[in-house]
């Protein structure tokens, strides 16, 4: 299981929306956070989100201990099972 958390604020909502376009990914909620989960990798294309760099590189609030970031650059964010 791959799990990550993103705070629900206006500039982060495109990130959750793009993540949800992958049918293997579930975007739920826990409190005011998006809980983004998948049985496999979560991959989010930065350009598809339209997020500027300052938002893109600070959007992650939490990564569950059984998951790890394997890519976080100007192209994409990739979180995989640890």
């Amino acid at each position: 299981m791959t799990s990550m958390y993103v705070l629900d604020v206006p500039e982060n909502t495109p990130l959750a929306k793009v993540a949800a376009e992958d049918p293997a990914v579930t975007v739920g909620r826990i409190g005011p956070y998006f809980e983004i989960t998948s049985d496999a990798a979560i991959v989010i294309d930065r350009r598809a989100t339209g997020c500027r760099h300052a938002v893109w590189y600070s959007a992650i609030s939490g990564i569950a201990r059984d998951s790890r970031i394997t890519q976080h650059d100007k192209n994409a964010l990739r979180v995989e099972p640890a």
Partner: protein
């Protein structure tokens, strides 16, 4: 989160030394239009060999003030090219570190930000950067003393959940600092646990507060 009552009322003044008081007055009073609101002319006294000095203040809005000390006869305390009137840095200090300390002055809207941009661009201290950050947009320049000055406006109102998130970040930071080798990765793992533990109760409590209004 703290249970202590919060009594303070913003910045009374933030003070800096200057070796260029004329440039400092031009920059803050004549270019930016910050009124001079207070000054002290003092004869040096006390156990140290303290020079005579002027301590002068500019209003930065909200009755908050930026203040300077000018010491008669004192020569600059360093000759390094990098840094400011207060401190100089050698080539071993990374640029991001040198640029980290700054004063950010708040404006409420874009029209105000652009007005200060215009004033600076018409002066000897033009804007060096205009940057859209996460939730604020800012202009930057260095004042005549080399101090990095930011003028910033909010891009949107702050939301209540950002306070929760900030507190979870700090608690996660303190937890990972208590272990050897703190990293952002360890912080995000700890913060994920805190989110699962605390975020649902925070939202319930907040919904209760809203309903009680």
């Amino acid at each position: 989160m703290t249970e202590l009552d919060h009594r303070v009322k913003g910045v009374d003044h933030a003070a800096f030394p200057t070796f260029d008081p004329a440039g400092t007055v031009r920059f803050y009073r004549d270019v930016l239009g910050f009124p001079v609101v207070h000054s002290i002319c003092a004869v040096g006294w006390g156990p140290e060999d303290h020079p005579d000095f002027i301590h002068f203040f500019f209003d930065i809005g909200n009755d908050d003030r930026i203040a300077f000390f000018y010491y008669f006869g004192l020569e600059p305390v360093h000759s390094r090219e990098r840094g400011d009137a207060y401190a100089g840095f050698g080539p071993e200090v990374p640029e991001f570190f040198v640029r980290s300390r700054h004063l950010a002055i708040h404006v409420e809207k874009e029209d105000d930000l652009l007005e200060y941009r215009r004033r600076l661009d018409d002066s000897a201290w033009p804007v060096k950067m205009q940057i859209k950050h996460e939730t604020i947009e800012s202009i930057y320049t260095h004042d005549p003393n080399g101090y990095l000055i930011e003028i910033t406006m909010p891009l949107r109102p702050v939301t209540p959940q950002e306070d929760l998130d900030a507190n979870l970040t700090i608690d996660a930071l303190l937890d990972v600092l208590a272990q050897p080798g703190p990293t952002l990765g360890k912080l995000l793992a700890r913060k994920a646990e805190l989110i699962v533990d605390r975020a649902p109760a925070w939202e319930l409590a907040r919904a209760g507060q809203e309903a009680g209004r």
